[in-house]
């Protein structure tokens, strides 16, 4: 009896197992092969909140979701088509994320009484047997046993053999989705170069898994996902935090400045510190400060010295930086603050996602202290956004917030990475030295963009003092003069507003430039909104999508762009923040669509909420 080969446009696979089961590696290997096969894709890992929750328990489950297709793929997918469950806990933790008609591939030895107990199913009620899985097609395989058999002649330790079982799953899925094994094989050969026996074992088990699909008859279907038409070029896969690191280094390179990065570890921002600390040979200084206050302060000190000063944090750590950021607005020095947002308030849910720090970035300081704000929309866009944050900070002598989040930080996508020669130049001019008879240096004199000059120590003749007290226009001397304070407050605002002349105008991402409904988003909701809106367009709805990258100042044409629509909807992973700014600034009755579960919008969910909102307020 043959196997039918079904063509699918998109497939979502979720690999789930114990932290020890190597699901992250399995997922990324499948991802690489899939990329090479020319599909579009997105992935998202999910780590347990604890470092090492007890093996076999639900909190110990680690999973990896991959969404790939022959059409554009903009999110890691909603619920999955296939769930690989290496043990009972993995099933329990992820079942809710499987489609009604989704397939479960279960490693039966992970459902023995012990595992059932650890997963709190109860020793003797096995979900695979009690029919509780209803409509789902369940494929039970004793992966552990099969792996051991296939290596019974190997000299490897039991533990090492056990470790290879994820390759069996990988091989099996390669068969299911008609993928070649070669890239994985060469990866294994590279990785275990020094341990050929281990490499061999893994490869053997990989093939075993593939052949298992081929030979046994548990599967009635296999699937083909055709190439997507992706613009030709050289690609790599990148996470948001990786891309952020690269964006910073690129900006330092394009401005020919040393990069000084002062930070204090915090989830999910730490990887930026880790990534940069490896790049010392790119002229990067990383400083793990005693706290976030020292971190931002050290970046300000470095900026005073002429370096590109950057600091990063998340959640509570960002709240601590407010005072020092206020100082930077007064000093009018370049400063980049990376906020890799997470679910709050307070410590909140460090491993969960949220974009609820926009208002804090806008207003989280004493007094009138305007700063610029940019936000990336996809993992690879973190590169552009980080680069832009640096460019604005350096060219406009102003603190700039970069608002990424955990979903972007850990998600991956294929990236047609740029070449250095194609990157913008960032123009930095230090105030030149002058000799005694030249006239007095005016630290707070401004150019036509209201930007003061960067006057760094080591420059003769321009010795000067800056500080957090109000400054007199031009001279920069301390001033309590009422009119001067009014003037300087407005100047600091004008300087930030003027950035609008140096950023691209807001464009429509999908849909017409005029119409009934505009869905306005920012940050990591990009993929979900884009996909949802396009599907709604497909359903014949008059709807468009614009996604704001420059949140302060807003693009000059945004008001007019908005005015071309009858309704404006603002989906956010928060309780309504951008929507407040839009309503205030453009005086349109924009309506928020909000989700605060620590999770991204699902496409179907978002489509439904858009429809509901429209019907409710029309």
């Amino acid at each position: 009896m043959g196997v039918n080969d079904i063509v699918r446009e998109k497939v979502t696979i979720r690999f789930a197992g114990d932290s020890g089961d190597g699901m992250q590696l399995t997922g990324s290997l499948f991802t690489n092969t899939t990329a090479l096969e020319g599909n579009d894709l997105r992935t998202l890992p999910e780590f347990p909140a604890e470092i090492r929750a007890p093996a076999g328990t639900v909190p110990g489950v680690s999973s990896f979701q991959l969404n790939f297709g022959s059409t554009e793929i903009m999110t890691p997918g909603d619920n999955c088509d296939v769930l690989v469950a290496m043990n009972a806990a993995a099933l329990k933790a992820n079942l809710s994320q499987l489609k009604k008609d989704g397939i479960i591939i279960a490693n039966t030895s992970g459902f023995d009484p012990r595992n059932l107990g650890l997963a709190k199913y109860g020793k003797d009620n096995n979900p695979l047997e009690d029919g509780s899985l209803g409509a789902h097609q369940v494929i039970e395989i004793d992966i552990t046993k099969l792996t051991q058999e296939s290596l019974k002649d190997s000299a490897l330790s039991h533990k090492d053999i056990e470790r290879t079982k994820n390759m069996f799953v990988l091989g099996l899925l390669y068969w299911m989705y008609n993928r070649p094994l070669d890239s994985t094989i060469s990866f294994l050969e590279k990785k275990f170069g020094k341990k050929p026996d281990i490499a061999e074992a893994n490869i053997k088990v990989l093939k075993e898994g593939y052949n298992f699909g081929e030979t046994t008859e548990v599967f009635t279907d296999k699937y083909t996902v055709k190439k997507a038409d992706i613009s030709p070029g050289e690609y790599r896969s990148v996470t948001g935090n990786d891309a952020t690191v690269l964006g910073l280094v690129a900006a330092a390179n394009q401005s020919n400045l040393p990069l000084f990065f002062g930070s204090y570890p915090i989830t999910p921002a730490s990887d930026v510190l880790h990534g940069l600390s490896r790049l010392k040979n790119h002229g990067v200084y990383t400083f793990q400060a005693e706290d976030e206050i020292a971190a931002v302060s050290s970046a300000i000190g470095a900026a005073f010295g002429g370096s590109l000063g950057v600091t990063s944090s998340s959640g509570p750590g960002v709240a601590l930086k407010g005072e020092a950021i206020g100082l930077a607005t007064m000093l009018e020095l370049p400063l980049v603050i990376l906020n890799i947002q997470r679910a709050g308030p307070s410590t909140g849910m460090p491993t969960k996602n949220e974009q609820a720090d926009l208002m804090q970035a806008m207003y989280g300081r004493n007094g009138e202290s305007p700063v610029a704000i940019v936000a990336p929309s996809t993992p690879s866009d973190c590169f552009d956004a980080a680069f832009e944050a640096c460019r604005i900070a350096l060219e406009h002598m102003v603190p700039v917030f970069f608002l990424s989040d955990g979903y972007l930080a850990n998600g991956t996508e294929p990236w047609k990475f740029p070449k250095q020669k194609d990157l913008k130049k960032i123009t930095v001019k230090f105030e030149p030295s002058r000799n005694g008879d030249a006239d007095k240096f005016m630290p707070y004199a401004r150019d036509e963009r209201f930007v003061r000059s960067w006057a760094i120590p080591g420059t003769a003749g321009i010795e000067h003092r800056v500080g957090g007290l109000e400054k007199e226009e031009n001279t920069g001397d301390v001033s309590y003069d009422p009119e001067n304070h009014q003037k300087m407050t407005l100047l600091r605002q004008a300087k930030v507003d003027a950035i609008a002349d140096f950023i691209p105008p807001q464009k429509i991402d999908s849909g017409n430039a005029k119409g009934k409904v505009l869905v306005l988003g920012w940050g990591s909701t990009y993929g979900s909104i884009r996909t949802a809106v396009r599907e709604l367009m497909g359903e014949g709805m008059d709807i468009s999508h614009a996604h704001i990258k420059y949140l302060n100042p807003l693009p000059k044409n945004l008001g007019e762009l908005i005015s071309n629509f009858d309704k404006v909807l603002v989906p956010e992973i928060n309780n309504g923040q951008l929507v407040k700014i839009i309503r205030d600034k453009y005086f349109v009755p924009a309506a928020g669509i909000n989700k605060i579960t620590g999770r991204p919008f699902f496409i179907d969910e978002l489509k439904q909420r858009i429809k509901d909102t429209l019907s409710s307020n029309s």
Binding site: I230, S231, D242, E290, A294, A302, G305, L327, S433
Partner: protein
């Protein structure tokens, strides 16, 4: 750094002949705004007097302060300066010095600024041994905010915020600095300009964080806090000046000495033939245990008591330990040498790519 950046270019282009300076060259055009008679004036003057002799070009000197009366200091120095935020000067200085090791960086801070709100950055700076000079203006009071007690104010201090007397035990700034593994720990006073000058020079010459505590009189809110040590009459009995390699001698006619009886410092009189200079404790700046003992000449019996230890002034402790800023630079350069200057395109490409036709 082995990689040349725009900063290096800029410095290169701006090269000037090293100048001869007079102290006047270091006073800015701002009029000084401390209370008449404030100890800060004399400290400012001595710093301005010392600057011409440290052999650093004006353009390469930076004064960074927090907030407080003392912290207004940078405005009055015609060098680069930053009057930053309360308590954070050490962190800002760490960022500046680490990224620009060639600069001469001076931190100006008060007892509240560095030992209250800024105490964390203070101890971390000492631990890291960043090569900067920290001048701690200790007046045992919050001056700028008009007279609340500070973490160095003695127990029972009556102040605006402690009308019935303060309850908390004060910090001993030198002990705290030793506990934080500071490599240079010294004390001086506003009222002894000569000594102040020599201590400033020592602080400047030391490689690493130089912590110089300066007893400073706040004439308005805490006048006479250090009179015992600054007053010409009581000073000889109450203060002792330390000199490396020399015995611990004090008193109006140098008639008193200090010797170590086991771990116990004892005041002895040299007059009565019982003890001579040779029996005395010889000061050794490199001996941390002795520095510890000297730092404890602090919570001693009341004045008048025979065994009351005089308060030490001078360099209690000075040793060399690698500086953080040097270490960072060395590591950066070492990596550059080993791996070669990073290539951006390679970095962007990453470990693995694929091509879509």
């Amino acid at each position: 750094m082995l990689i040349k950046t725009k900063i290096d270019e800029h410095i290169e282009n701006g090269k000037t002949e090293p100048k001869e300076y007079s102290s006047k060259d270091f006073s800015s055009d701002q009029d000084v705004r401390w209370c008449p008679g404030c100890g800060d004036y004399t400290i400012l003057k001595q710093v301005q007097n010392v600057m011409p002799d440290i052999g650093v070009d004006k353009k390469d000197i930076v004064f960074i302060s927090g907030i407080g009366c003392a912290a207004r200091f940078p405005y009055y120095m015609d060098t680069f300066g930053m009057h930053s935020i309360h308590g954070r000067a050490p962190a800002i200085a760490t960022g500046l010095k680490t990224s620009r090791p060639e600069l001469s960086v001076w931190i100006i801070t008060g007892d509240g600024d560095s030992l209250s709100i800024g105490a964390n950055h203070f101890v971390q700076l000492l631990r890291r041994n960043v090569n900067v000079n920290l001048l701690l203006f200790n007046n045992q009071i919050y001056g700028l905010t008009k007279g609340q007690y500070s973490p160095t104010a003695p127990e029972g201090s009556v102040s605006k915020s402690t009308p019935y007397g303060s309850i908390d035990h004060p910090f001993n700034p030198l002990s705290l600095s030793l506990g934080a593994d500071g490599t240079f720990i010294a004390r001086t006073m506003d009222r002894d300009p000569k000594h102040l000058q020599s201590m400033l020079k020592r602080a400047n010459d030391h490689q690493g964080t130089s912590m110089l505590e300066i007893y400073q009189n706040c004439i308005v809110f805490n006048d006479g806090a250090f009179e015992l040590f600054t007053d010409k009459k009581s000073r000889p009995r109450e203060a002792i000046y330390l000199n490396d390699g020399e015995p611990l001698i004090f008193g109006n006619d140098n008639e008193k000495g200090i010797r170590l009886d086991g771990l116990q410092p004892k005041v002895v009189s040299l007059g009565d033939g019982k003890f001579s200079k040779d029996n005395l404790w010889i000061h050794d700046e490199k001996d941390k245990t002795k520095a510890y003992l000297l730092s404890r000449f602090f919570d001693q019996p009341e004045p008048g008591d025979e065994n009351r230890m005089p308060r030490p002034f001078g360099v209690l402790f000075a040793v060399n330990r690698p500086c953080y800023d040097e270490g960072v630079l060395a590591q950066v350069n070492e990596v550059i040498e080993r791996k070669g200057q990073g290539n951006l395109d390679e970095l962007l490409r990453g470990p693995e790519t694929w091509t879509v036709k």
